[in-house]
Symmetry: C2
């Protein structure tokens, strides 16, 4: 029997699960209370910490809201509506040149749900997922929910965060490794993996019976005339490739929560389908809105990409002109990881929100550490360059001033 003393000494009579205790906080939201306090003091905060684009959602999607005629907003099929799946098929045909049957595409509640389904379908409690770090911090959240251990393969800023060679991957392999997740183009790095890199990691997965989860939600955002390669375009990956997609960034419609889980492995598809049936449906109005967006062709994408490329250039040129700041030119997505001439980027990020201001303005960045599983990234920050050009220029200027003042304290 447990004594009263022991009970009192325990974590509390009604204690949360161990997995609950391990659930990480979001590194991009960590400093939110400080930002709120700064705003309450009247300081304007430029948000470089979060990837919420300011680009308008395409009119054809917004117009669909006025076209809804159904009087009952019913459950959609668990797989997604046939119309939405057809829309995704058309998009993949146009964009990737691939014919993907409807029974290989599962509509999900954002890319988020697709990642959770993938982790749960590929691996069990205590299994391991290899992740290229720095990585999208919420992978850690989904891994924790699914009971997986994140095993990092480190990419380096000096290499533009491209993949380390295969022997590094081999060193991370254990009897518990079940899958690999990559983000391409990369959040938080802005790195676009080359076809040879993808082939290397696919070979690693093929040779060791690992599933390869490829998060491609930033597919359209690649600069300097390059294109991202989808894992689905690689040869001989049908049995282990899972592609995670989302409409959030592609159509600047983050709030609709609509994505997709795509795989040619019917066993994995069927497991994800049963999870999808458990939660009944993906969002219905979102699916209705999305139908037709696939006909937004290259000219739509080109306009958005040109806008982001200009912002990328402003950010890159601005940051690299600050003494001691290092980053390679980001190739895609709308993020970069920048190395700062400070010991603790988190301390500097806190300084930005709590002490610094210039003409009533400051800037918010995400400390880099939270994007690593290894104890790395202490002197790095992640920047989302989703603001308009003048705001980005001003943000860079604020960073320059703040670094000067911070270092001369």
């Amino acid at each position: 029997m447990t004594s009263l003393h022991e009970l009192e000494a325990s974590a509390g009579a009604f204690s949360v699960s161990r997995r609950g205790t391990r659930m990480p906080s979001s590194p991009i939201r960590k400093l939110a209370p400080l930002a709120d306090a700064a705003k309450a003091r009247g300081t304007k905060v430029y948000h470089l910490n979060i990837g919420q684009p300011d680009i308008e959602t395409p009119a054809c999607m917004l117009d669909r809201l006025g076209q809804m005629v159904s009087k009952v907003i019913e459950y959609s099929p668990s797989t997604g509506t046939p119309e939405f799946l057809r829309s995704m098929q058309r998009y993949y045909e146009r964009r990737l040149g691939l014919t993907i049957p409807q029974n290989q595409i599962l509509a999900t509640t954002g890319g988020s749900e697709a990642i959770l389904f993938a982790f749960m379908a590929c691996a069990d409690e205590g299994d391991e997922v290899i992740v290229v770090e720095p990585f999208y911090a919420n992978y850690e959240a989904f891994a924790t929910m699914a009971g997986l251990k994140v095993v990092p393969v480190t990419s380096r800023g000096r290499d533009g965060f491209h993949m380390p060679p295969r022997h590094v991957w081999e060193q991370k392999l254990t009897s518990k490794t079940r899958c690999v997740i990559i983000c391409n183009p990369g959040n938080p790095t802005g790195t676009v993996f080359r076809r040879e890199e993808l082939q290397m990691v696919a070979g690693f997965c093929r040779d060791h019976n690992l599933f390869l989860i490829s998060d491609e939600v930033y597919r359209e955002f690649v600069y300097d005339g390059q294109k991202a390669t989808s894992v689905l375009e690689l040869d001989d990956v049908d049995q282990f490739a899972i592609m995670v997609d989302s409409l959030s960034k592609r159509y600047s419609a983050c709030g609709i929560r609509l994505g997709a889980f795509v795989t040619r492995n019917s066993e994995i598809y069927n497991v994800a389908l049963r999870m999808a049936q458990g939660r009944l449906s993906p969002p219905g109005i979102a699916q209705f809105m999305a139908v037709g967006a696939e006909s937004l062709g290259d000219e739509y994408t080109r306009g958005v990409v040109e806008e982001y490329q200009r912002r990328r250039d402003v950010m890159y040129e601005g940051l690299t002109s600050i003494p001691g700041v290092f980053l390679r030119k980001p190739e895609g997505a709308f993020y970069c990881m920048a190395k700062l001439p400070v010991e603790s980027a988190e301390d500097f990020a806190i300084y930005l929100l709590s002490e610094f201001e210039d003409r009533g303005e400051t800037v918010m960045v995400a400390p880099g550490e939270g994007f690593y599983s290894s104890p790395l990234g202490r002197d790095e920050i992640r920047i989302a360059y989703v603001l308009k050009e003048p705001d980005l220029r001003r943000s860079v200027e604020l960073l320059r001033l703040a670094l000067e003042r911070y270092r001369s304290r």
Copy 2:
């Protein structure tokens, strides 16, 4: 090292997770291919198998779609928008007479996500959740995803599926029991638990440090002038009560995928919040639509409830007039479990779709077995009485005819 032979003999080079293998299929969708085949033969199928109401979504919600002015569909806060949370607060004030602070309400992607969050926050892989069976089949799906074992406490049709006495619950307790989930009013039973039953189970949870998850998505649907009691209305449950809510049924808006996770235990709330941050946002347009629906008062609810009560009466009177069919009068929700004079209700359900027809029509029901964890319910079916009265009458007539023919084969 593994030999080639061993590799070939294994479950397949790229095998899905054990949890994936265990993921249950939905019992309400199990016979869907047979229904499709029947329709392809030109047979009209009345769907008593699925709880998709035909009641119109309130105009005030549909009208909101035309009022969206934002040009960018942005992420909402992970907790839900302040406007939506305020709307839920107003609803709880009016409906339950409870003032619930915003930091005790988390907007979720349907009730489904709230249940998954609750399981994951309360328990770990290998832990046990006690469920009153027959139960909403997807609890098994969420439990499998969360790694929990479902331990059934059996309720009986002869008792109107009311709760068994406390000593039955005590027998189910093990060192791994972490939580209890109840559905009130009940899917698939239509049972409305009385306050004393709720107090009994709350006492059981309190005495054994178990979380009590109360799925109240059918709250409004209670007949004969009764009202459902929310777990939040009980005394002394703040530390262990978690209420799962949803707008799907309340406003006949299943497709919007919007619900809530409500608890006064701040530790549990914070764990669920971190999971919510991981998936970024609940559906945004849904939240926008939902604001204002809380002002639909008792007169709206009364109209819908009267309609369902008539349907309940048609269904109950029709079914009990069939020789050998047994059920007690359902008290709420829009389901009932009926005992049929057959050995295998699944075989009968298959017969309905594959052999039987009357004047080109048949009916689809969900076999009862799938709603039990114990080997029970073989001679039961679940019926959702969401069709219009004439269709319900015809469905009952078809069931009567089919039972006659099936039994005289």
